[in-house]
Symmetry: C2
Subunit: 359 residues, 2 copies
């Protein structure tokens, strides 16, 4: 088992990474405030892991409330969040109750937001079961639900007490979701870690074959990159926004098609290729650089073209993005491979040209 400590002063927490961690409730016990926990999962992950996981916690002497949500990004909304509150209040869970998120990014984001707001804040633990959530949404304290007018529009910055990333859980992940997770892994290489990008290019087949050591390495290095960024900029005033490479285009795709049509990682992959194309138009990347970005995503089985929504619709959807500041659209682009910047320099004609060329 590897351990990575995210250093955020009194909100610091460890990430445990390795095989068969779900079966070790002793890892969780020291991080539970009282004896009460609520395990929140969804109707896909629950049947696979919930019974054994809860039995382990109960064997450690904990009192467990179970809450099962419908699966999918389409349910990352208020009515589903309210199912968590209903379950907690129905079971009379008090302010000492620790919430445990068992599932992917949607479960993690929702449980984190529920923990941030239930009785004005209770502790929570992330047990991410998808590659995407292990490398991304379980690190950094971003929690949120969607609004019909925009993704992640309602949320909070709220840190977990502990993250358990069990690579064995990735064995039950559908291929499409594994690939979607790789989009975020590749992203860390692109924005700030060229040696890691080299490693991914050399080990992509092992990752696609779910080699446990390769997965642990990818999760570890991704989380280390993310943790470094988050520690430097917890509430996204600056550098942290570079983690959103591909996300502004990607969110437009997800919102434009309706949540759930494309997986988040798929939209981010296409968005990253679009960001590379736009970076080339600004003179920052070469044609070969753009091809390198396209090729690694294509080898991972990810989309390398955006959805054909039309440039006007893209621009309209992008104007709702959270990175819009005082009316100016700010994009994460690449100064070079391995170095992202946040910029408001891209002319709208160039953005339009990228959309038309890449969708």
């Amino acid at each position: 088992m590897r351990t990575l400590n995210v250093e955020l002063a009194e909100r610091s927490y460890p990430i445990r990474i390795g095989a068969n961690l779900l079966g070790q409730p002793g890892l969780i016990k020291p991080y539970v405030k009282t004896r009460r926990v609520a395990v929140i999962t969804n109707d896909v992950v629950g049947p696979l892991y919930l019974d054994a996981f809860v039995a382990g916690l109960e064997a450690e002497g904990l009192t467990v409330t179970r809450i099962i949500l419908p699966d999918g990004e389409a349910h990352k909304d208020w009515p589903t969040l309210n199912l968590i509150f209903d379950g907690l209040l129905g079971a009379r869970c008090d302010r000492g109750t620790t919430l445990i998120a068992l599932g992917g990014g949607v479960v993690g984001d929702m449980v984190g937001f529920a923990a941030a707001t239930y009785q004005r804040g209770v502790p929570f633990i992330q047990v991410p079961t998808t590659l995407l959530s292990q490398v991304d949404s379980s690190v950094g304290g971003k929690t949120a639900i969607n609004h019909p007018l925009g993704k992640n529009m309602i949320g909070a910055f709220y840190q977990p007490r502990l993250v358990i990333a069990d690579t064995t859980a990735l064995n039950t992940l559908p291929d499409r979701e594994l690939k979607a997770g790789l989009a975020e892994v590749i992203k860390y290489g692109l924005i700030r870690d060229l040696p890691f990008l080299d490693w991914i290019e050399a080990n992509l087949e092992r990752l696609l074959a779910r080699d446990q050591d390769a997965l642990a390495e990818a999760v570890d290095r991704s989380c280390r990159n993310k943790a470094e960024v988050v520690v430097a900029d917890e509430t996204e005033q600056g550098e942290r926004a570079t983690l959103n490479l591909g996300h502004t285009f990607g969110h437009a795709i997800e919102t434009g098609l309706g949540y759930g049509e494309w997986l988040h990682g798929e939209a981010v992959a296409a968005g990253a290729v679009m960001a590379a194309d736009l970076s080339r138009r600004l003179g920052w990347l070469s044609d070969a650089d753009v091809e390198r970005v396209r090729a690694i995503h294509a080898r991972a089985g990810l989309p390398v073209k955006g959805a054909p929504l039309g440039a006007d619709r893209y621009l309209e959807l992008m104007a709702h993005d959270k990175k819009v500041s005082d009316g100016t659209l700010r994009l994460v682009l690449l100064k070079q491979i391995g170095k992202a910047v946040i910029t408001a320099e891209a002319p709208v004609e160039s953005i339009r040209a990228t959309i038309e060329a890449c969708c």
Copy 2:
């Protein structure tokens, strides 16, 4: 104009108290991050103050979005909160937008929670227009909405950048709401400031007659007391819970009758008398002390008996209270007049006896 600074390190903020402050938008301008603000009010306060207030802000060069909510505690819920998000997203308000709450405690609590969670947090300013919100809910950063199973069950600790308490706005407050606000003023005397209680007893008629100087003094001393407590214990791990004198019984009354039947301050008044009665049963207060608590509330025109819900129903509702920790009901009681404690010592038979004697 008086200014009180609430010292919370990088989240410190000033409270301005005095007459005719709503007409001074220059007080607000320095605390607005960008040029965008959204003023959120309700359909009772809006017609009285919104046009002039917005005109003042616009004259200062700010771009103002207006959002008007239905009035009342019954609307302190998710659908109404969502009207704020709809309004902000519809007007494309970005993360630099400052939310301004113009109204009573319900508006303040909801706008504060909206600010805490819109795009994971935007700045906000409180402009409380009721006595209750000026002395209580605008100080301390507690924000929340209600859930059908309990009051304030979903919320966050989130501090405003500025509070403007205009005593002139209290001239349009219905008598019943002025009196309800006095319940919280009296509370500060009871829990920690005996000289202030003496002052209230000596000046109650001036307060009821809306004497501006007396109101400013009451708001100032109440806010000072609250600020001292909040600074010492921002997230309510200890002393801050004493601010909830009367609230556990009071919340049971409000929930038991359905939100909106009694005003919050009315329920707190009856709850404070019940807490005094229970304190006497524990040997902490004399009969004369309890009569003093009863008399000041009665003189203020407030209820001094709880709603007749029956002891079983009270106990059931109180078990849902946020002050329940690890299954134990903790109550705020009085060791003496002017000194509150948080205790789990009250036997359930004594609580039952108090409910039966006081309702």
